[in-house]
């Protein structure tokens, strides 16, 4: 069975510094894989690389990204654009700034549907209503006529989720979709993502720094640090029997409700230093090999 997403030895550099170092991971059809790491580990950068939206000063120096067996980077621009938003979708991080402030919700969803699925205005309207209902928005007709600033942050995130799943994508990249929300809303969002991905049969790459979220929704997970994959496997296994020291440190650092009096235990600086020097050594080796 061809993997929905197959990243192989991907190295991305910004100027002289590597931000992704030979990353390999796979997402199978229908799989929900968590991508964990602290800020700056390269999680978002990987998502952007898959979407082909790296910043202007970043460059892919090695590796390949395959979507359903097709090489994304070797593809023609127009072909890749036909995949984005339709077969590969993004749930962005910040609901406050991710919607166009001067267009109504209905127009934004409708444009997407008409652009990728070629629906008529009427058909797009019907489908938009269906989508909004799917993400548990009450009064979908009213919401379609509203502007983003007229609905709450939680509702905006639901609209973004609806737009991600609108064209039945094979892969959804969720870029820390719960980070900007408060805890009660987080739970609802996670439930929504789970429900929709089941309904639309999508695989999900769930980017987050929150191990709790991973535990709840991701069947498998990959741990990233300094642009490298340190550990990966089934979530249950990784969380109960972590193999890498870093993973163990991450788990130990997570505050626990049943041991509130315990002091927080950050990841030991010595370990971090060791990991970083390993990363730089790898850079040198790779550079020399060239």
């Amino acid at each position: 069975m061809t993997a929905t997403l197959a990243v192989d030895g991907l190295t991305v550099a910004i100027g002289a510094a590597n931000v992704l170092r030979g990353i390999s991971l796979e997402v199978q059809p229908g799989e929900v894989r968590g991508l964990v790491g602290e800020s700056g580990a390269g999680k978002s950068m990987l998502g952007r690389a898959v979407l082909g939206l790296l910043p202007a000063n970043a460059a892919v120096t090695a590796g390949r990204i395959a979507f359903e067996g097709r090489d994304l980077m070797a593809m023609a621009e127009a072909e890749r654009r036909s995949l984005l938003g339709r077969r590969i979708a993004l749930i962005p991080q910040d609901p406050m700034t991710s919607l166009n402030p001067v267009k109504r919700i209905g127009a934004q969803i409708g444009n997407l549907l008409r652009h990728h699925l070629g629906l008529s205005k009427r058909a797009a309207l019907v489908r938009s209503l269906e989508l909004l209902t799917e993400v548990a928005i009450r009064e979908p007709v009213r919401v379609l006529g509203l502007y983003p600033h007229e609905i709450s942050g939680g509702m905006r995130q639901r609209v973004l989720i609806a737009m991600a799943f609108a064209c039945d994508p094979a892969l959804v990249i969720a870029d820390e979709p719960t980070t900007a929300l408060d805890v009660t809303v987080q739970r609802q969002v996670l439930q929504l993502v789970e429900r929709l991905r089941l309904r639309h049969g999508s695989a999900v790459l769930f980017v987050t720094h929150d191990l709790g979220v991973v535990a709840k929704i991701c069947r498998s997970m990959t741990v990233l640090h300094a642009g490298r994959v340190l550990e990966e496997g089934e979530t249950a296994n990784v969380l109960t029997r972590p193999r890498h020291a870093y993973t163990r440190a991450l788990l130990a650092a997570t505050p626990r409700a049943d041991r509130p009096a315990e002091a927080l235990r950050p990841v030991p600086p010595a370990l971090l230093e060791q990991l970083w020097s390993e990363a730089y050594r790898l850079d040198h080796v790779a550079a020399e090999a060239v």
């Binding site: 510094a17 931000v19 700056g40 390269g42 642009g227």
Partner: protein
């Protein structure tokens, strides 16, 4: 991925580095401004004829390189037989004089008010800002024409018109910049060591405003030249026969089909001067300012 913040140190710029920063703009601007200033300074020497001397026998001669031209009158003559080149050069003299005086005065008033508004804040700032807003609501062209018409023709009224119309340009920018400078560390440090407000302004802040001031002065001179052209075009500038680019344009407009060069040549001079001043001011700002602000 850790970001390494780059701390820029405001060291005194070295001459060569400064000139390089100024770039092409500085050189071209300086050349044009030099051309203007030198023409103005050495007008009596450079002009081949007396700008006021009329020779009706040689009226409306085209420039020397066109058919019918006379090599004695390189750029031709106007309806009264006066040498166009000589008049152009002498007009440069008027233009530069007016521009220098008017720009300096506008700067003096604008900078003073801007400094006060920016550093004192409170009701001083409020009232000065209100004043600027209301002042800027008047259309500048009409205002300067009204002023000059009201005060009567002459050098004073032209300068007064320019100053009155455009001092706000300095005031606004200096005010904003003063407020920014006051938030900088060196200002706080100076106040800690007990510098009075006036000395703070004079010794610490003003020097930091110099690059900005220089650009503004250059731009203001360009504007002064333009206002003078407008006023002399309309007929209410320096009195009498004193040649000005604006009056040459006004005369030339009447006979533009018969002798287009009389209108065209002053325009070339004006555009060259204004663009030269703008480029020079821009280049100087880039050269003097060690921390480049876009």
């Amino acid at each position: 991925m850790a970001d390494i913040a780059l701390i820029s140190v405001a060291a005194p710029p070295r001459l060569r580095a400064g000139l390089k920063r100024g770039g092409l703009r500085l050189w071209i601007g300086a050349a044009l401004v030099a051309l203007l200033v030198l023409s103005a300074l050495f007008a009596p020497v450079l002009a081949p004829h007396d700008p006021l001397a009329q020779d009706l026998m040689s009226a409306q001669l085209p420039p020397a390189w066109m058919t019918g031209g006379d090599p004695a009158y390189l750029l031709g003559t106007d309806s009264l037989g006066r040498c166009v080149l000589s008049r152009l050069i002498n007009s440069a003299r008027t233009a530069v004089m007016v521009a220098l005086i008017a720009a300096t005065l506008a700067a003096a008033i604008g900078v003073a008010l801007g400094l006060f508004a920016g550093s004192f804040g409170g009701w001083v700032d409020q009232s000065i800002s209100r004043l600027i807003d209301v002042w800027m609501a008047f259309p500048p062209v009409l205002l300067s024409i009204v002023l000059a018409a009201v005060i009567g023709a002459g050098l004073t009224s032209v300068i007064a018109a320019i100053v009155v119309v455009d001092w706000t340009r300095f005031a606004r920018v200096i005010r904003a910049e003063t407020m920014v400078q006051l938030t900088r560390d060196y200002a706080a440090a100076a106040q800690v060591i007990g510098l009075s407000r006036a000395r703070l302004l004079r010794l610490e802040i003003l020097p930091n405003l110099v690059p900005l001031l220089v650009t503004l002065l250059a731009v203001e001179m360009g504007i002064a030249i333009l206002v003078e052209v407008i006023l002399s075009f309309v007929g209410i500038s320096v009195a009498g026969d004193t040649p000005t680019w604006g009056s040459m344009i006004a005369e030339g407009r009447q006979i533009v089909y018969q002798a287009p060069w009389i209108m065209a040549l002053p325009i070339v001079c004006i555009i060259t001067s204004v663009i030269g001043l703008n480029l020079f001011g821009d280049g100087l700002r880039l050269a003097l300012d060690p921390v480049q602000r876009s």
